[in-house]
């Protein structure tokens, strides 16, 4: 099934929300593995998001203008003896999408009826 252009799937909304949370904690940029870990922590699962799923979602978000990316300065990974990271930043549009997702999540949580104990 094809989805509507511009519509976000739950993973993309989760990425926007996680990126907004990271920003609130003072980390403006994130890389793929960091996002996978943040999503895993948020969902309280040990299995991280699959490679293909995560990077395809990030690519789609970038195309939609919700995140933007850049490759870090090659001197940094060379100094730290590791592969270079692609760093993503949430754009203003992404921030708005995260806020929208948060509001929608809140509305769903409030609508859910509370369980009442059945009389004994």
């Amino acid at each position: 099934m094809r989805r509507k252009p511009g519509a976000l799937v739950p993973l993309e909304m989760a990425i926007c929300t996680a990126a907004a949370n990271l920003r609130r904690r003072g980390s403006d940029e994130f890389h793929g593995y960091e996002m996978a870990k943040t999503l895993g922590d948020a969902a309280d699962t040990r299995l991280l998001t699959a490679y293909g799923t995560l990077y395809r979602a990030l690519g789609r978000l970038e195309k939609m203008g919700l995140v933007q990316s850049r490759w870090e300065d090659p001197a940094v990974p060379a100094r730290e003896n590791r592969p270079g990271r692609r760093l993503y930043t949430l754009t203003a549009l992404g921030e708005a999408a995260a806020e929208e997702a948060r509001r929608a999540q809140k509305a769903v949580t409030q609508k859910r009826p509370r369980r009442r104990l059945a009389p004994a």
Partner: protein, 153 residues
Amino acid sequence: MDPLLFSAIALVRGWTRLYTSGMEPGSRNGRRAEIESDLWEFHEDARRRRYSPAGIAAHMLLRLVAGLPHDVCWRVESVDEASRARGRAAWLTANAAGVSACVAAAYILFLVTYLVSLMPLPDSARVERTFVRTARSLPPPPAPLPPPLPPIR
């Protein structure tokens, strides 16, 4: 390095190479570098947390297998986009070539007209001789028609 972990990393790298092969260098190298970075970060993080190499390998393989359909979809989407971009480029090139050909034709026409206008006119005596010779070779003009008859009363 543990052989199981080595095999898992090799599998992830091999699959990434396979599904990105034949793509545009930008997309291909970007995706490969991104997966390489993820593998390294994950390995280092798991090692710091003292996960067993077999556990790390299993986790890597699970992440690989779960993402296979998305990898294939990503490739199809990227190749489609690239071919669409090529189509757009071909259309623009054809249009530009057409406009250039029209401008060139108009310029050549103008140039030829201008050069012809600069050329000296033919000698008037020669033109007259040619005209007279042509006139003589033509048959004589037909006799004029008789005047109309007066109306009958």
